[in-house]
Symmetry: C2
Subunit: 196 residues, 2 copies
């Protein structure tokens, strides 16, 4: 049974759920560093991501601390995948675009994408990059234009910038003004969240 | 005497210097965590910040590791300040806007600011917030709109998002297409950087 919660908290949960974007998701492709994972989950929560997908084949999903920085994981639904092909197919179902971070010649800057479309963004392992079986299936690469001497961003910073860009576009399009979840989904999640 | 460097590196240094924005700066107000400081410097480098200002009165400027994540500090000029009033006056000289991160009722979202103006953004200590003597002088607060349950961002994520927004606006305004530094400044910095 859910513990007693204040009306204020209940209202906050309802407001947050009403702004969750069910068609904006991230994929964690073997991201191993717990600080990175916690930070990305925090950005997901901040910009209204409801679901993330976990693809862990060469690294393990890290143990996340009990610190406040890890608390965002309570508010993000996680789905595990073992089959890259099935995962990408699911993400593309209904016409969604699937992108991955990368720097090849055909990569396009983050501002050039339309994030009001249903979108999944694959964030890859800090050292090895995208898993080859995913890279084969997903060719649309996204990058953040860098003007400096250092050539790469930390994955949590890259995720925050991409999600901010997506938030801005969706905010301007009014996509946070009405729930993306239907009544039953909202009710079920409200019930679950009130128990956390 | 500068060590021998390749033509490729020399060219890269020239390109990066030509894109440095001398009127976009950050102030580190007692940010103590070395990971945060390293990450913010990396975002500064990435988005063309040339100068940062250090205001350390209650914390110490942290020792930054030799790791690659700390390498951005080589490309960012740092100026120490001990007098908040003199620092803010310098930052405002010539009509620059000085902003600080904050959540008071008059704070405005990051998208509402015009970052094509000369701008300094004060990032404050992770626990104590803005130093009171700075808060008194700088009342324009900037925040990143958050849609989730968790109420705050890590300072390095906040800095990255603010600098990305500034980059986007300046990029659209063509401000990275011509040097902001004059010929003598460029020459001096080129000489210094080639020796690093």
């Amino acid at each position: 049974m859910p513990r007693e919660i204040t009306d204020k908290r209940k209202k906050r949960i309802e407001q947050v759920l009403a702004r969750r974007q069910k068609d904006l998701t991230l994929v964690f492709d073997n991201i191993w560093d717990p600080h990175n994972v916690s930070a990305v989950l925090r950005s997901c929560d901040a910009f209204g991501v409801l679901d993330v997908h976990l693809y862990y084949t060469t690294s393990s999903w890290p143990e996340l601390g009990k610190k406040s920085s890890a608390s965002a994981k309570k508010w993000i639904r996680r789905t595990r995948h073992v089959d890259a092909g099935a995962m990408v197919e699911t993400l593309r179902a209904g016409g969604g675009q699937v992108l991955r971070t990368g720097f090849s010649e055909t990569a396009r800057p983050v501002m050039d994408f339309d994030f009001t479309l249903p979108t999944a963004i694959i964030l890859s392992n800090e050292h090895r990059g995208t898993a080859p079986e995913i890279a084969e299936l997903v060719t649309d690469e996204i990058f953040i234009p860098m003007q400096g001497m250092v050539q790469s961003f930390n994955v949590s910073v890259a995720a925050a910038i991409i999600l901010y860009e997506a938030f801005k576009q969706r905010h301007e399009a009014g996509m946070y003004d009405a729930p993306t979840l239907d009544r039953d989904e909202l009710e079920e999640l409200r019930h679950q969240w009130c128990g956390r």
